[in-house]
């Protein structure tokens, strides 16, 4: 059951597969992960990330929220705020 444990580290483990799909990022992910740690997380792919979050969690982000997200922790806070 080790596989279960590593995924629990994030409150929203779905983020792991989203990062894998969008950024091909397979390294560690923590709440402290920022665009500096993820090679393909640029302003263009940021749009793809937002879209993936919106479809996965069935939410809609505002312009401000799109701009505010600068780390995985920001994503989790935003998801909590949306009650996702």
């Amino acid at each position: 059951m080790d596989a279960c444990k590593t995924e629990i580290r994030l409150a929203y483990p779905e983020i792991i597969s989203i990062f894998e799909d969008i950024f091909q990022h397979t390294g560690t992910l923590t709440t402290a992960t920022t665009p500096d740690d993820v090679e393909r997380w640029d302003s263009l792919q940021h749009i793809a990330l937002i879209r993936a979050l919106e479809t996965t969690f069935a939410i809609r982000l505002s312009m401000d929220e799109m701009m505010e997200i600068r780390s995985v922790g920001d994503i989790e806070n935003m998801l909590r705020r949306h009650g996702a």
Partner: protein, 744 residues
């Protein structure tokens, strides 16, 4: 900023990173709830509770078996939504459930069951039909692609993912690494991409969109806002230019300016754009693909938007008009109708204002994919040329009913419903003929079937609308090859329309160059569907197009198309036909009599036996017998499709009737059936067999049937020819393409 080359991103190996669809949960209390729900499944279904909420990918296969058998015991059929959730989660449903599933779910079930054996792969050919069908459930497509990748059936995975990429982006990302390898091998199209807004996302979407049409696109992007410079400058080392246009990029409005003055500026901008396009076509040899400006997502002048100078719609229409004028004078500018391309999306979903404010991206992600698809389809149309020939089936395609069975008077086609849908289909064929396509009739039918167009009052088409035809009982792929040779056209310029899944499948397998779209099953859907079929869209229309069909008609001569069926055997082998033979009994006697009453074409004696007459044959098993055969294949169950009755007298068996439904003609079912019939006769201690052929206006098809099955001629007159067979002396007829068994 230097131009960047966009390629398809190499992605992680999906096979490694994705877990198998069915995994176990580790939480025991949840397990208990699920177990209880499974136990009470029939009640849960009746009261519509709990089962909907279960994530079946967390439930072990043996528990799903318990669920299914408890439903079966309670005589509750699994509802479609439950079957769908189970299949999406990777579970396998039993055969009897699969039979009632729509084809996409049935294929998913087969893939869930598959272990990767080579013989299973052949079944994946049905995927081609799904690849050509725009209406298939998106989640199912994504799941199918995932399964195919899991089975390492890479080619099928890539084909399906690309075919649905514009509507199922998930399928594309599942297959990303396979796609990258596939795209490498395609012929290149070097495209320069410019726009009046950000083009980066379009550049990415163009890659799978072009790949779906068989092209590898190498995109270089112009500098932001450099549209006019691109058009005026000289293009080097590119095969084409794609321009992404949007309203704000061409004519931003300033509402402080008075209406007249504002519209004047817009006119000026439109002129600049039109002049730049003209200049481009004068200087560049490469084609230019540009989209029209789509409907504005919201009006600026309310109800007056289309008419008033303040109106956005008026502005959009004006710019488009000028652009189309410029394009018309050039043979290198092609304007894509953005409203058509985006019509799959509601207006409000065609834009995502956040993307506009965030990065000046003019269209939503879905809209961008739809535009990419339209650009790619147009590119392909330009490079490979539109279709030249429309090859159409007759029965149940151009008219309702079967000519050889129903007779010309009963064919459905005319002014009234439901015949008007078929008449509209004929109207569409005539429209394409007027645009320069050649019409070819391709039908398994009586040779005189074309006469129906003259003799039936509701028909719109006439026999001489067809430039060529092959109306016989030979395989259609063979016929189409002969016609292509006769017309001196490549098979890749043919589009084939047929209502039969078998015929479409056979054509795709044996003539892969022919375009074989999935025609909608409902005749009412077909006329509009045909208008949307991009491969038939003309790029330019000339006066010659309208007369081309007449030219061919003049050259036409009667072409007796007799084909050898070499590779047709592969097709038959792939059908996995099963014939289950049984004696006629109480439950099937009505069907046996009905077949005797109705069958016209494959009917040796056309004896219209009634239930009582057939029942009499079965009374004494030393005096007669009556057999039925049920036919199934990879595509499903054809029901009872073949029948025969035999009388035995004085040590001789006489085949008094032998008939088969036209649905299964030409697939050797009859050979396998006759072989079993003869064996059954031998089991009754009889070896001398006689068969008669009684010619009618409709059964010319079986004139030589007994000869082909090893019978010897034993006399003939105008009324009948008689054939005999000595069991034991001649090899019994059989077919390697039909697996025979006995049932009850």
């Amino acid at each position: 900023m230097s131009p960047t080359v966009i390629g398809f991103p190499a992605r992680g190996d999906v096979r490694r990173s994705r877990q198998s669809p069915v995994t176990m949960t580790c939480d025991t209390s949840i397990d208990e709830i699920i177990d209880a729900a499974i136990e009470a499944a029939p009640d849960c279904l009746r009261r519509r509770v709990i089962l909907q909420a279960i994530d079946w990918s967390m439930v072990a296969p043996h528990k799903v078996s318990i669920l299914l058998s408890s439903l079966e015991q309670a005589h509750v059929a699994a509802p479609r939504w439950l079957s769908r959730s189970l299949l999406l989660a990777g579970h396998v449903l039993p055969d009897q459930t699969e039979r009632h599933l729509p084809s996409d779910l049935a294929v998913l079930n087969r893939l869930n069951r598959a272990t990767g054996e080579p013989h299973e792969r052949d079944k994946a050919a049905t995927l081609d039909a799904l690849a050509h069908d725009d209406r298939v459930d998106c989640d199912v497509i994504a799941a199918l692609v995932e399964r195919l990748i899991g089975l390492s059936w890479d080619e099928e995975a890539v084909r399906l993912a690309l075919a649905h990429g514009h509507r199922v982006p998930d399928a594309l990302s599942h297959a990303a690494s396979l796609l990258a390898a596939h795209i490498e091998r395609l012929p290149a199209a070097r495209i320069r991409l410019a726009g009046s807004s950000t083009t980066h996302t379009l550049a990415e979407d163009l890659v799978p969109a072009f790949a779906a049409q068989g092209w590898r696109v190498d995109v270089t992007q112009a500098e932001f806002g450099g549209l006019l410079a691109e058009l005026m400058g000289l293009q080097r080392n590119v095969d084409g230019l794609i321009v992404l246009l949007d309203f704000d990029g061409v004519a931003p409005r300033n509402w402080r300016t008075p209406a007249g003055e504002g519209f004047g500026l817009l006119v000026e901008r439109a002129e600049i754009l039109a002049n730049a396009l003209t200049e481009f076509s004068r200087r560049s040899g490469a084609p230019l693909l540009i989209n029209s400006i789509p409907l504005p997502p919201a009006p600026a002048a309310g109800l007056l938007d289309r008419r008033h100078m303040l109106g956005l719609r008026r502005g959009v229409d004006f710019i488009n008009e000028r652009m189309l004028d410029a394009a018309e004078r050039s043979n290198r500018i092609i304007v894509i109708d953005a409203d058509q391309a985006l019509s799959i999306l509601p207006l409000r979903d065609q834009v995502d204002p956040r993307l506009w404010y965030y990065g000046r991206i003019a269209y939503s992600a879905d809209a961008m994919r739809a535009l990419a698809r339209a650009f790619a389809q147009t590119w392909n149309l330009l490079r490979r040329g539109p279709a030249k020939v429309l090859a159409v089936d007759l029965d149940n395609t151009l008219w309702g009913g079967v000519y050889g069975e129903d007779g010309v008077d009963h064919l459905v086609c005319g002014e009234d419903s439901p015949g008007n849908a078929f008449r509209a289909m004929q109207q569409e064929c005539l429209r394409l003929k007027g645009q320069g396509l050649l019409l070819v009739a391709l039908s398994k039918n009586e040779p005189d079937a074309l006469a129906a167009f003259e003799r039936h009052p509701g028909m719109l088409m006439k026999p001489d609308d067809f430039a060529a035809w092959a109306i016989n009982w030979d395989p259609k792929p063979e016929n189409i090859r002969h016609i292509a040779a006769d017309l001196s056209l490549g098979l890749d310029s043919f589009v084939f329309l047929d209502d039969s899944a078998h015929e479409r499948d056979a054509m795709r397998r044996l003539c892969p160059e022919v375009v074989v779209p999935e025609m909608p099953p409902d005749p009412a859907d077909r006329p509009l569907w045909l208008r949307r079929l991009t491969c038939t869209w003309p790029l330019r229309l000339t006066a010659e197009d309208e007369t081309r069909a007449a030219m061919y008609a003049a050259e036409r001569q009667a072409r007796g198309l007799r084909a050898s069926a070499a590779n047709f055997e592969d097709y038959l082998r792939g059908l996995e036909q099963r014939l289950t033979i049984s004696h006629v009994h109480k439950e099937t006697i009505a069907r046996a009599a009905q077949m005797h009453q109705r069958t016209n074409q494959f009917n040796l004696t056309t004896l219209r036996s009634t239930e009582a007459e057939i029942a009499a044959l079965m009374e004494d098993e030393t005096r007669g017998l009556a057999l039925l055969g049920r036919v199934t294949d990879r595509f499903g169950d054809h029901g009872i499709a073949i029948a025969a009755t035999v009388t035995i007298d004085n040590g001789e068996a006489v085949i008094r009737s032998l008939l088969m439904s036209c649905r299964v003609i030409g697939r050797e079912i009859e050979r396998a059936f006759l072989g079993e019939l003869l064996q059954e006769i031998r089991r009754r201690g009889v070896v001398r067999v006689r068969g008669d052929y009684l010619p009618t206006r409709k059964n010319g098809l079986v004139r030589d049937f007994y000869a082909l099955c090893g019978f010897t001629a034993a006399g003939a007159d105008e009324m009948r020819s008689t054939w005999s067979f000595q069991i034991g002396e001649t090899e019994l007829p059989s077919s390697e393409f039909v697996a025979v068994s006995w049932g009850t």
